[in-house]
């Protein structure tokens, strides 16, 4: 299996350098209390032998793995979050790499996978977990909690019931939505509609909340339900047009939805943005730039979210991560971190 002829051990390095295993070990993990001359000799031996520490042996005694699990449910990574997830992954990867941690990817699909993930996490193979859980009824969070592993969530978990032992990173869906709607209002639009995402996802719910923040008393007929797909956007747009033919702006819960809406608007002969202004969400590039006209939308710092998740995990809210011990610590590690969004102005609004 491991192909190469037996790799050199600490022992071998020690012998070559004429010191003990302990000394080599000290040098290898950040020399400290070793005379410079000796340390140098050890380093040379390491170099010459091409020594690489055996992580398994190390973990066995330290009980640390320098590895973090990233858990995501299949559907997320598929439907709407594709480039999204990849970008978060990139952010996570960078941060982990910077701290010499490995990234173990766990993609789940269906119930049995959940059990598997639970077992894996509980098995103590990793030092922590980054979990993407976008649905209200997602079983993952519970599993992870039972596993007793330090965890940071990506996206606000639906069951964030105020317990502050839940650490998550999200972008400011609500604030971003407010910005989008205010932008439309600032354009002088008065009949602003909203196509939601699937409301069992917190991001969709939060965007709707943001819309309502700004258009408090708006005609409820101006809100139609979508599902983060372009097909859903088309359907919702038709519905809206039927109910409120006089609408002059649409805030779509994501870019795909906006693309669908755009298509229907064109088909109905409404000019964008002249007759109807449209704003999306996500700034999913291949889509937002490709639409006609290019989409004004709300951009999130997706990679930054990933980075932050990893950083929070590594900084460790741990210590108190053991389930029951009620740490009366000062809450300077916020339970939820929300990243700002920015409105990207293109031609559609």
């Amino acid at each position: 299996m491991s192909a190469t002829a037996s790799r050199p051990t600490l022992e071998a390095v020690a012998e070559r350098a004429g010191v003990s295993r302990a000394t080599v070990s000290r040098v290898v993990n950040g020399a400290h209390g070793v005379r410079a001359a000796l340390a140098e000799r050890v380093r040379r031996a390491v170099e010459e032998l091409g020594y690489v520490p055996n992580q398994a042996a190390r973990s066995l005694v330290t009980r640390r793995h320098d590895a973090v699990a990233v858990v995501a449910a299949e559907p997320e990574t598929r439907v709407f979050a594709d480039p999204y997830f990849a970008q978060q992954l990139r952010g996570i990867s960078k941060e982990l790499t910077a701290h010499d941690n490995q990234l173990v990817l766990l993609l789940t699909e269906g119930r049995e996978d959940h059990a598997r993930v639970g077992r894996y996490l509980a098995g103590g193979h990793v030092d922590g977990a980054l979990v993407f859980s976008l649905h209200l009824d997602d079983p993952l969070p519970g599993l992870v909690r039972d596993a007793g592993v330090p965890t940071v969530f990506g996206g606000r978990p639906g069951w964030d019931d105020g317990r502050d032992d839940v650490v998550y990173v999200d972008s400011d869906n609500r604030g971003g939505a407010r910005d989008a709607v205010r932008h439309l209002a600032g354009l002088g639009r008065t009949r602003i509609a909203h196509i939601t995402g699937p409301l069992d996802q917190t991001s969709a719910a939060d965007r709707l909340a943001g819309f309502r923040d700004v258009r408090a008393g708006a005609d409820p007929g101006l809100v139609a339900r979508g599902d983060f797909t372009s097909g859903g956007g088309e359907r919702a747009m038709r519905e809206l047009l039927a109910r409120c033919p006089d609408l002059d702006a649409v805030f779509a819960a994501n870019d795909l939805t906006a693309a669908g809406a755009l298509r229907v608007l064109r088909e109905r002969g409404r000019r964008v943005p002249d007759d109807v202004a449209v704003v999306g969400f996500d700034d999913m590039l291949p889509v937002a730039e490709q639409t006609d006209p290019p989409l004004t939308t709300v951009r999130q710092d997706i990679e930054g979210m990933g980075r932050l998740m990893a950083r929070l995990l590594l900084r460790g809210p741990d210590r108190g991560a053991g389930a029951e011990e009620s740490t009366a610590t000062a809450p300077d590690t916020p339970s939820g971190v929300v990243l700002p969004t920015t409105l990207i102005r293109r031609a559609s609004a």
Copy 2:
């Protein structure tokens, strides 16, 4: 770190079941030579204690890790391959999961990362590697080879000179391109142009080769160079239109390119498909379905590629010539497996 109070060991299970460690070990790894009654008792003890084997300890002695590294360079996962890479990852994940292997994700960016990856692979932390290497001058393949780890490549490596026993999985870029061009020809088009991808990537080169297979003696002016982006597609399309105003079909190296071409064609008042038929490649859904008109394109089984890569690796790439149901590849392409593509007909051609 690993939070929970010390997890139960083999020893603990053994004690509870009233047997020796060895026996528990035998039961845990596929009972074999243990009396049913005893085995059952052990299994109960495992259950009751919630025992999970310590992978580190196991690896230490077996020298296996049941883990596979997936190595990909940043730019790939970014520019063109975003949803693409995610899908392959999904396929890989499924296959690995089915064989109880973990997926360690290594994203690289820049030279120092390469060194890091090399060290990691050489460090014997994983049983094998799946490497995505699309560029001719990619340093990754060399690194991996030096690391002496069983490897399967995703995409034909540029330096596959026919001598190397390189195992890779690719989709039939050349054949798919041929299908696309034949389809255009079958539509009665006679002035068929091609917008290439960046030709330092084998996929782009192979698609160009496929185009040439069908249009052997074609006017060289009918080939323009793109870069797999929509901007590149626009530029190339303008160029083509300037050189050959009478062209009546375009085969674009990927969907993004096609989308760019489509935009230019519309801007120039050419009707698609009436005046100019357009075919893309990839069937990148958010793009291909979103264009106007929806894009006829060549679909690859991306997830299947991922799956196959993992399967080949787990099968043990060294004895790939074994008497298995190996795919029908010519022996002169030593260990490359090429997956078929299918033409998806939509409105653009």
